[in-house]
Assembly symmetry: C2
Homo-oligomer: 458 residues x 2
């Protein structure tokens, strides 16, 4: 009975009674993407690394698992909790300091991406990372999942934005090196180990981040292309002139369904095509016209529209970003988040469609993604629920060939619980063994987010 | 007596007799930067990860330390060996495949940076990393030290270039994931752990790297500035217009001495200044003029010259890159490789000079570095050798304040043996303890580059 009165009193002694939240209090909180995120029924809200250290020491001594929460926008079940566990909320780790001269930020784990973006924008800067869940996703969660998003192709994923880190180990040891410089090789890079570990090796409490200058005024274009290959060529023509800010791809079925459900069908009326390419660019209209011209001549782009206002640009982005709208008519969905070398996109998508047809022709395949990274978000959906066997078959249909092509079965959403089986099938036994050795070395009692990221040994 | 006949025969069985090199053979090899690199007197030249695995298994079983060698250009003693140890040469790990469509490369550890650069250039691409030792430095060594160089401010250090890795653990386990995609979060990122570990956690045998498009034609400018702060403002004016390819800073004493010893004094005749700024930019002459004009008006740039030919550009770069020329008149040198937040450069350099004056006014301070990263290479030198006490005093004078300012005492050259004491003084006890736990978890018998990177427990 670790979660007894004494345990609760110890928590209250650390953070203050008002920051320990029991069953009734957490029931009123938004659980985020996964309804089980607050299943623990107990949460604690520390306000400093020292308080996190005291909580982890207590939990390590009493064997209570600790599940760290950021914005609960994770799509892989990394924040799911269970009775008997303790949710560690990071929302009070809310330091935010911007140094506009050095172009760096000191950011508490609980700061949302949008708050960081706004603070940077006030100084003409940007954190160099953006994703759809910006309003809720926290920097701590983004570090812990090594989040990617729409700017990763030019500024890297979260691990590339990190300069320094403060993190707490399972035994309460605080590691703190809030460096403000990009070149920093002082022994093993523990920042990089904790980044992407989803709270299984330590709890990230604060980071320092490299900032970029804010994007210049941009033009948003929606282009209709015959396939991914042609979309890539059109993208390269723009990229190689400099100033490509974003490049997203949507396959027809996804774009049409979301446009319909969000009242944006008019946006796609200019052309019915297999693939839509959204480009945001710093090129002016003349420059964009010059970059686009050879693609139109070659038939790589069938037709294109350029947003004439912020509203029109927002409509185009609305189709790309309102991914949940796709679930209105097809509520049963399996999500995948993969990366592929760019040259493989068309053949992969065609062969996946064929594999799905073999399983059940009624399956709908939604495809969209970050084109320059070859990062595809695939949703396989239908009106009725999936039987276990079909679910497994679909996963294997998606996995087929990805690793052999040099791709990844987990691009930017993390492993959590949802992708454990996929990781187990697609990582080598040697790698999994090393992961277990590292986990055992840093969290010998296994209290940090147990059952996540690291597949259990057979 | 592990290095007995049976051990040598076992090595020969793995790689073939001609690829085991004894005392006489290694004595004829270039030891590189450190004369002790081949002090082991025994080297083996595997041609595949499987051969590396067999060698490490043998060494792990017999307790023979293994020192991996790349180009032996390391400045921190990471490749130093001793009798009884085995040098593992990577020169036969020489795969090199470029995919120009996907803009990725598969690169054996033994490939030199220059070979990689040339293969990329043939496809209009670049590895996105460059440093002075390009002719000798190998990709394996650059991964193991997380090399930086002159393009890191825009493309990141070596860890940001890495997509996939093949590495061999101490026990002969081969970890191989040669992914070709930038977004890839399949559990703990072992690539990032091995990168920068200088061969103490595993031997890197092959990597996949992200490539960039080749730089456009560039203009090289040498500007004379009153101090670092003004040089930074001038740099930002150019950077914020896009197209800044390189930005290097040299303080007067370094520039004058190297120019004199390389016959390039005429290059500096246009202006005697405290600081010289080298900018390589993709801006055309008009654009550069516009970017420079406010800096000239403000006095941030006293005067500037623009190279009118490739020869003139090479002369400017000759002063920056011929760092060893500085040792001709002042052969006794202590090297430091630090990072500082940009806003601190002038006050740090002035206070360092003052601290050195307190120790011995005759000490000469050479300063140069990668300005956009705040990465300074400092050499403190004099005509006669340093006593132990003075050596320690100088190191402490350089270290003073660096960590408190958010800087780093080890930017891009690694820890090796030369920086062990500095790491021990400047990293927290908690971090050092975690490093030891990781080392013990992955190399329990301590055969991989022992005595390097990880300070021994007290």
């Amino acid at each position: 009975m670790p979660l007894d009165t004494q345990f609760l009193q110890s928590l209250a002694d650390i953070v203050g009674e008002e920051h320990v939240r029991g069953q009734n209090a957490v029931a009123m909180l938004d659980p985020g993407v996964d309804p089980s995120n607050f299943a623990a029924g107990l949460a604690v809200r520390p306000s400093s690394a020292a308080e996190v250290a005291a909580i982890l020491s207590l939990c390590d001594a009493t064997g209570v698992p600790v599940i760290s929460h950021g914005g609960r926008t994770g799509l892989a079940g990394g924040a799911v909790s269970a009775p008997g566990e303790l949710v560690l909320m990071t929302d009070r780790l809310d330091e935010l300091t911007i140094d506009p001269v050095g172009r760096v930020a000191i950011v508490g784990a609980g700061i949302s991406l949008q708050s960081l973006q706004e603070a940077c924008a006030a100084e003409g800067l940007s954190p160099g990372i953006d994703l759809g869940a910006r309003g809720s996703a926290t920097v701590g969660g983004m570090v812990s999942t090594n989040a990617g998003g729409m700017e990763a192709f030019r500024y890297g994923m979260m691990r590339q934005r990190l300069l320094g880190m403060e993190a707490v180990l399972a035994d309460g040891t605080v590691l703190c090196d809030l460096a403000l410089v990009p070149k920093n090789n002082e022994g093993y890079d523990l920042r990089q180990l904790f980044c992407g570990a989803e709270g299984t090796l330590g709890v990230v409490t604060r980071v320092t981040m490299k900032l970029e200058r804010a994007d210049p005024p941009s033009v948003t274009m929606l282009a209709a292309c015959p396939n991914a290959r042609t979309a890539i060529r059109a993208m390269r023509n723009i990229e190689d002139r400099g100033g490509m800010l974003r490049a997203e791809i949507m396959w027809r079925d996804y774009a049409r369904v979301v446009a319909e459900h969000t009242g944006l069908s008019r946006v796609l009326e200019f052309c019915d095509a297999a693939v839509y390419l959204i480009i945001e660019t710093a090129l002016d209209l003349d420059g964009l016209g010059e970059a686009l011209s050879p693609s139109l001549d070659a038939g790589d782009v069938i037709d294109a529209v350029i947003a004439q206002s912020g509203r029109e640009a927002a409509d185009i982005w609305g189709i790309r970003e309102d991914t949940f709208a796709a679930s209105w008519s097809l509520p049963h969905q399996l999500w995948f988040d993969i990366s592929l070398p760019l040259a493989c996109l068309d053949t992969y998508m065609a062969s996946l469609r064929a594999r799905l047809d073999t399983l059940a022709p009624s399956l709908v395949l939604f495809g969209l993604g970050h084109l320059a990274d070859g990062n595809l978000h695939l949703t396989i959906c239908r009106k009725c629920s999936f039987e276990r066997e079909l679910r497994d078959g679909i996963s294997q249909a998606v996995e087929h060939g990805v690793k052999d092509l040099g791709g990844s079965m987990s691009a930017e959403h993390g492993i959590g619980t949802a992708k454990l089986a996929i990781l187990e099938r697609n990582a080598s036994a040697e790698k999994l063994a090393v992961m277990r050795r590292l986990k055992a070395a840093l969290d010998p009692n296994g209290i940090l987010n147990p059952g996540k990221v690291v597949p259990a040994a057979r």
